[in-house]
């Protein structure tokens, strides 16, 4: 796997770009998912190394779209692994995250003393006015409402 993570092979780059090309102001996957990003993915998920190696070891091809169709038909598990490697590498890149407006899972401690805005807005008023909606088993078939 080291060979792949040091320098992503051309076959990987072609498939990655077919999945996530440069468009709508976003960079192509091959320009983002470099050796570092691949190393990150494979370090977190060593089990992805083999499927990735299997994909790039397949005989050379001209048309990545056809190869993706073939993978979908014959090796869906390899295609799923490829999808995961490409998107995990792509969306862990800081620049890509900035472009999509995603700051990561950030820490926002709950402030329990804040009076909930929905109470202020009266959003529970109708629910409360309507009264109990649970079905009382002791009330012979009648809802408590």
């Amino acid at each position: 796997m080291n060979e792949i993570s040091d320098e992503p092979p051309a076959a990987f780059a072609a498939l990655a770009d077919a999945l996530v090309p440069a468009a709508h102001g976003m960079p192509a996957a091959s320009t983002v998912v470099d050796g570092n990003r691949l190393a990150f993915v494979v370090q977190a998920r060593p089990d992805l190394a083999d499927p990735l190696a299997a994909i790039v070891a397949m005989p050379m091809f001209d048309d990545p779209a056809t190869r993706l169709d073939e993978l979908a038909a014959q090796h869906p598990e390899l295609l799923a692994a490829l999808h995961l490697v490409v998107v995990a590498g792509y969306y862990s890149d800081p620049h890509v995250r900035t472009l999509i407006g995603y700051p990561g899972q950030i820490v926002r401690p709950v402030s329990a003393l804040d009076y909930p805005a929905y109470l202020d807005e009266g959003l529970l008023d109708r629910v409360i006015e309507r009264g109990p909606i649970w079905r009382d088993p002791t009330a012979t078939g009648h809802d408590s409402a």
């Binding site: 993706l68 995961l84 926002r108 909930p116 959003l123 109708r126 309507r130």
Partner: protein
């Protein structure tokens, strides 16, 4: 490789028989251990998994969405760690999910903490289906309230979907921008909604931190804000003298000629066998692990498995078939953040209305929708876009979704069951459980109805796109019913105090004991029932037969 790498012992290693041996250190095992140890009872617990440190959880790391799909997956078949047992689910419509370790499946659970409703305990009387429980909501209410205080539940009192009672100990968690939109929609529709009670701290409590809304609860809570018994129960149990042995996989419960349980055989990571003697045995191994163990404990005296004279051990498996309805909104809701237990819930369509073509109902819980990898990969409903428009696809969903999870009541069916696999084994060579489970016609109709209504809810909230997963395969979070309680030994496995009819010093305290499933997340009920059973054990301790 065998079980987990090492045996770990917390507390003093027992040199004689335990008063009570508990098998499984998850939700129910933790509740019982704490109660018994605090009463001075000598408890030993055997747990096949490890005691994880909070620093191991990946929520704050860049690889969170990658490891969530493997090492921290909730499927034992995907995780495939030595301490997991595999589950043969080929003949099941739903794949079971769980975790092996101190805290049990609560380590990965979402933290939603609703109670069952009064009608859930009386479905035979009210709706003419399944069976009534041998206890009522009112019987259980004091235990729900005590358990809520132990767990540290955040919520808002006064929900008219429930009878009145004590308020949750902590104020509610924020409902987020998605919750607010949907709450407004329900207010306009005149439909029930309420902030969901969660086993997640909205403020520091009992030495634990408050929630930071990182939204990675289902891969372990690095803050310790989400309750799990490794935090809420085991430290106290151990401080009161309980012994917890991890990396210890129980292979069978032994009985003597008097028909009493005498303890259990267990296997460590090196494959060495041990025997733990005990005067009483409590099984807390969950709705699949428990029937598996009882079936593995067959003997000449119990040829069909231990405590199985009714033939019901392993039968009546209920898993709450689950559908998901996601709305996509133009507004940025930042729905990658927020606790993963639900933000708001709705019981609008919970109670039976036979005009709908089915009986019973479902609870709805609104959840966040994950990070960028989740937005980019095929959605639960199967939507995926590759090529140039992939970018538009991701932009339209990352942070823009709100997702109703629909849990329908799963009526018991004896053909839905856990048996022992003839071929598959765990890492200790013990037979793996095999499931046979199909979604009933009543459940299918129920889900279809609720999908339609939940779509209406999200449309009213302003969703431009609605996506539906009509039956999520990886949704077997709730494992219930496989050693049901009841008063008649011919039609139930344990009595109303969780004691096996056939073996007077054997107890089953996990979700296996459920008579029916209700249509809500079950763990607050599992914990309340376990606390009630433990109280009874303490009260009756002097009547308990002594084996050793």
């Amino acid at each position: 490789m065998n079980v987990s790498a090492e045996v770990g012992v917390s507390g003093d290693r027992p040199d004689g028989p335990a008063d009570v041996l508990i098998i499984g250190a998850g939700a129910s095992g933790g509740v019982v251990a704490r109660r018994l140890a605090e009463a001075g009872i000598r408890v030993v617990c055997l747990e096949q998994g490890a005691w994880h440190d909070r620093t191991e959880y990946r929520g704050a790391e860049l690889d969170w969405e990658l490891t969530a799909r493997r090492q921290w997956s909730s499927s034992p078949n995907i995780r495939a760690l030595p301490e997991d047992y595999p589950v043969d689910d080929e003949r099941s419509d739903v794949s079971p999910l769980m975790f092996a370790g101190v805290g049990g499946s609560m380590i990965l659970f979402a933290g939603a903490w609703p109670r069952m409703l009064p009608s859930d305990f009386r479905v035979r009387s009210l709706d003419g289906v399944a069976d009534d429980w041998p206890l009522t909501y009112e019987d259980l209410r004091p235990y729900y309230e005590r358990s809520d205080r132990q767990i540290g539940v955040s919520g808002l009192g006064g929900d008219p979907a429930y009878p009145p009672g004590e308020d949750p100990p902590l104020p509610p968690l924020p409902i987020g921008a998605g919750g607010l939109r949907v709450a407004r929609a329900h207010s306009r529709l005149g439909w029930h909604w309420w902030p969901e009670p969660n086993a997640i701290l909205s403020a520091p409590y009992d030495g634990r931190n408050r929630c930071v809304q990182r939204g990675t609860c289902m891969q372990g809570c690095g803050e310790g804000a989400k309750a799990s018994t490794d935090l809420t129960h085991w430290p106290r149990a151990i401080a009161h003298g309980a012994t917890l042995i991890t990396g210890a996989r129980v292979s069978r419960i032994e009985t003597n000629s008097a028909g009493l349980a005498t303890g259990a055989h267990w296997i460590d990571g090196a494959g060495t066998e041990h025997f733990q003697r005990a005067n009483a045995v409590v099984v807390a191994a969950n709705g699949i692990g428990t029937p598996r163990l009882l079936l593995m404990s067959s003997s000449e005296a119990h040829p069909d498995g231990l405590a199985n004279s009714s033939g019901l051990v392993g039968r009546r498996l209920m898993m709450h078939p689950f559908a998901n309805v996601t709305g996509l909104f133009d507004e940025q809701l930042e729905s990658w953040q927020g606790h993963f237990g639900c933000s708001i819930e709705s019981f609008e369509f919970y109670e039976t209305d036979e005009r709908r073509g089915f009986v019973r109902g479902a609870k709805w819980g609104l959840a966040p929708t994950g990070g960028p990898v989740n937005a980019a990969l095929p959605s639960r409903a199967g939507a995926q876009v590759w090529g140039a428009d992939h970018h538009l696809h991701v932009r339209s969903r990352l942070g823009h979704g709100a997702s109703w999870g629909l849990f329908g009541e799963d009526l018991p069916d004896e053909e839905n069951r856990v048996t022992l696999s003839a071929t598959a084994t765990d890492s200790s060579g013990l037979a793996a459980p095999e499931l046979q489970y199909s979604v009933s016609e009543n459940s299918r109709r129920m889900l279809d109805f609720h999908i339609e209504k939940a779509s209406e809810s999200l449309t009213e909230a302003g969703a431009h796109t609605i996506e539906v997963d009509r039956l999520m395969r990886y949704s077997g979070w709730h494992l219930l019913g496989t050693a049901r309680m009841g008063t008649d030994p011919t039609t139930s496995v344990v009595d109303e105090w969780n004691r096996a009819h056939d073996v007077p010093n054997l107890f089953v305290v996990d979700g296996s004991c459920f008579v029916t499933s209700g249509g809500v997340n079950p763990t607050s009920t599992i914990c309340a029932l376990a606390l009630r059973a433990a109280d009874r054990m303490v009260e009756r301790r002097h009547d308990q037969p002594v084996v050793w």
